[in-house]
Every structure is written in structure tokens, then in C-alpha cells.
């Protein structure tokens, strides 16, 4: 490992130690720890296997021309879902402040998903036409 990389490791470890020290002196580490460990464990044990399982299944059951668009819809739809999760239930809304969370998030989320699926379907049709015409050509 070069001197530059070693220096980067030392700086990184120093910054991490500073952050860990701040957690200990300014916060209650026992309250923080579940929110640091929990999401990683949930992701590794649940979300990732589900997503990779869906990709594997998509590969088994979808025709090849639909696989790319399906992967696209999974990634974009997943991104929208992850962000929407914080507002969909309007858990943070307060009766005394109507200017907060003042949208119909379910409708907005569904429209965004529908747009994503439509793009994927159009791409699937274009892919299919290309596949069929290249087959006819050969």
C-alpha cells in the first residue's frame, strides 16, 4: 500500500474515531446503535435477497427483450418507493400546521410509478420489434 493510501486510511480512522467520540459524549449510544445496525441487517437479510430473488425470477420467466426494461422499472420504482416511504403515511403531519406534508402523496407516488412502468412497457415493445426484425433478417 502506497504512502498516500496509508495516509488516507489514517485520516479516515481519525475522522471515524472523532464521530464515535461525539456519539458517546453528545448522545446516548444505546439509543443510536439500533438505528446504525438495524438498517444494515434488514437490508442484508431481507431487502437484498428479495431484490436479487426478483431479478433471478424475472430472468427465468420474462422474455429476454423484457428483462432490461423490467430491471429499469425495478431500480427506478425502488428508488421512488424508498424516498416515498417517509411521506406516504404522513406520519409526521400535525393538525396545527397544514403547510407541512400538504400533498396527496399516495396519488403522486402512484403516478410516478405508473410513469416508470409505462416507460418500461414502451421500451419492451421497441425491444421486441427489434428482436423480431433482426430474427427475420437472419
Amino acid at each position: 500500500m502506497s504512502a498516500g493510501r496509508r495516509a488516507l486510511v489514517v485520516i479516515g480512522v481519525a475522522l471515524m474515531s472523532f464521530g464515535a467520540w461525539l456519539v458517546v459524549v453528545d448522545n446516548n449510544p444505546l439509543q443510536v446503535a439500533p438505528w446504525v445496525l438495524g438498517p444494515v441487517l434488514l437490508h442484508d437479510a431481507l431487502l437484498a435477497p428479495l431484490v436479487l430473488g426478483a431479478v433471478w425470477l424475472g430472468h427465468r420467466i420474462l422474455p429476454r427483450y423484457a428483462q432490461g426494461p423490467a430491471l429499469f422499472a425495478l431500480v427506478v420504482g425502488g428508488a421512488l418507493t424508498a424516498v416515498a416511504a417517509s411521506v406516504l403515511t404522513r406520519a409526521g403531519a400535525r393538525p396545527d400546521n397544514p403547510s407541512l406534508l400538504d400533498r396527496n402523496y399516495v396519488a403522486g407516488y402512484l403516478v410516478a410509478l405508473a410513469l416508470t412502468v409505462t416507460i418500461a412497457l414502451v421500451a419492451t415493445l421497441l425491444n421486441r420489434r427489434r428482436t423480431l426484425s433482426s430474427r427475420r433478417a437472419t
Binding site: R5, L8, V9, I11, G12, V13, A14, L15, M16, S17, F18, G19, A20, L22, V23, D26, N27, V32, W35, V36, L37, P39, V40, H43, D44, A48, V51, L52, V55, W56, H59, R60, R64, Q67, G68, L71, F72, L74, V75, V76, G78, A79, L80, V83, A91, G92, R94, D96, N97, P98, S99, L100, L101, D102, R103, Y105, A107, G108, A112, T116
Partner: protein, 385 residues
Amino acid sequence: MTQRRHLSLPPREEEIAGPLHDERVAARLGLALGIAFGICFVTGLISHAIQQPPWWFTWPTRPVNLYRVTQGLHVITGIASIPLLLAKLATVYPRLFTWPPVRSAPHALERASVFVLVGAAFFELITGLLNIAHWYPWAFFFPTTHYAVAWIAIGAILVHIAIKLPVIRRALGAPVDEGERDSGNDGTGPSRRLLLTAAGTGVVAVVLATAGATVPWLRRVSVLAVRTGEGPQGVPVNKSAIAAGVVDTASDPDFRLEVAGPDAVITLSLDDLRAMTQTEASLPIACVEGWSASATWRGVRVRDLVMQVGGSPEQDVRFISLQESGLYGQSVLPAQHARDDLSLLALELNGEELDLDHGFPCRLIAPSRPGVLQTKWVRRIEVIA
């Protein structure tokens, strides 16, 4: 490091696993993620320093939208990191199950550093996202914890970059689609380029869906933004008069503002304030939660009040609210902001007397400051010696 580059005779599912688990894709996603986290970290530090300034720190008063931009970027880059982090993890997920799990002491340290990195990154993105939606399912205090863990995340990123540098160099140097045609990909199936396009589109989608909270012309497309930009007198509210517990004291007709300086302590009624020279300023209210809205404010210059009690333009000024609960019942306006032409004790917003939720009878509004420091329902102003 074993890479699945040769896809000529693997099981069929490998053709999809191929683009998902390739170092060229991982490195490009990692680069984007590193840039987003870097901007998010720096803008977060700026916001932290403005609110708890170390002795060496000053923050300019111009452009008036400066904090609006830095904090808007903080939240936008944080949200953009969500799809990037998830996609990045998907590309490296199988490596979680490398066998044997630990080969050597350095390998154990590397795995530990990745675990810390992912834990801290998830923590920052989840707590940040829930904070802007005012959803607090935890017991800890958000600002100090979000700040502390940010140092852990950025430190872990530096360690990760140092460890992976040779792989990053090799992967970024190689063309994305190198070798894919050989693997029988005729351009209709999923490819590495398609995966990168999908992740990029995911980033664009979540940014468009939320950035309207701070970018006015995106309001109509931002279907997941925590604010539409609407509110009393056309401006959103973060803390209402009810939540602050000031409804009675703020609407009391006998309200008097105290101004204390080196020469005198004076008390002013709302009519006294109205009789003083009024100044109009177009300034944004820019919340730490990343939403912002521009508005026209009218009221008395802070400078004029400071001079009435014998204060100088070199002195900081403290604003104390009727709000007694919570941490944000007062704020300190640094001297360079206090003497600024545009720093007002506002009485009016967009042509009307301040709404109770916007700080009636009077509130501070100064250029390039976090909304949380634009103290509402001001009852006392102190020139700090």
C-alpha cells in the same frame, strides 16, 4: 477478487447477475455516491457551523440565497444518494458471502470498515429523510446524532477508497461495456450500461420528486416534496404558534418589546415599532430541512434598534422569543448580519400584518440564515457586550 467477466458458459441467471455484479458498474456508482456524500457532508458542516459557530467561523450575508442553496444541496444530494447506495450495494451483495468469511487480519479490518460504512451511510440517509418529513420514531436528538455519525460515514468512505483504490482505478479505466458483446449480449438484454442508466434515472426521479420544496419551478412535479410552498400568506410554516405555546402571549394587546443595550433598556409597543422607519426586503426563509420560499418582508431595521440603545455595528445581537419551550427560543445574530441593510425585525409579510404562525407581533428576518435562527415572536433584543 474474482469478477464474473466471462459469461459465455455460466448458468443462465448469470447473464442478469453479470451487469449487476460487475466492478465497472460498482466503481461508477461508487464515484457518484462519493461525490454526492462529499457535497452532502460539506454543506452539512456549513449548516452546523452557522448554528454553532466556532470562534474562527463567519458566514457571509450575500448572496441572500446562499444558505438556501447550500442547505437545498444538502438535502438534494442526500436524497440522490439513496438510489445510488441501494444500487451500489446490489452490485457488491454476493461478496457478503465470500468464503472463508475472513482470510486475514487486514481482510477482517476491511470487512469491518465496510460494515461501519454501510451502517453509518444508512443511518444518515434514513434519519435525514425522516427528519425532513417530521417523523421521529427514535429517542435520540436528531441534530447532534446526525452530525456525529456523519464523521463516521465520511471517515469510513476515506478508508474504503484507500483500500479499493487499485480496483477503482482499474474499473474506471475500463470501458463500461467491454467484453459484453462476447458474452452473447445482443443489445436487447440487461447490460451494465442499462443498469447505470436505470440508477441515473432513479436519481433524477427522486430529485425531481422532492426538489420542488426548494426550487420553485419544480413544485408541480415534486409529488413527494414535504412542502408545496403554500402556507399562511403564501409561505410555509415550520413551527406553529400552537406548537410553540405562544398563542396567548403573542396575541396579547399589551405586548411590549424590550430592547437592551449598553446605554438603555427601552420598551416598545407594536404601534411604536410601526411608527419607526419601515424597510422592505425580499428575503428567503430557508429551513434546515431543505425547503425554502422567498417572500417580501417589511419592518424595522435591526441596526436602528441597536443604535437606539447605544449599541455599535460591531456587536452581536441576541433575539429572545416568547417561546419558552424547546432549544430554539433564542438566537444570536452575528454583528455583520445585525448591521446589514436587509436584516429586519419584520412586522409584515407579503403586504399583510404577520400571521401568528409567522411570528406575530414581530420576528427576525436576516439574509443567508437558517430559518431556525430567524427567531419568531420576539419579546426581547439584547445587544451583546
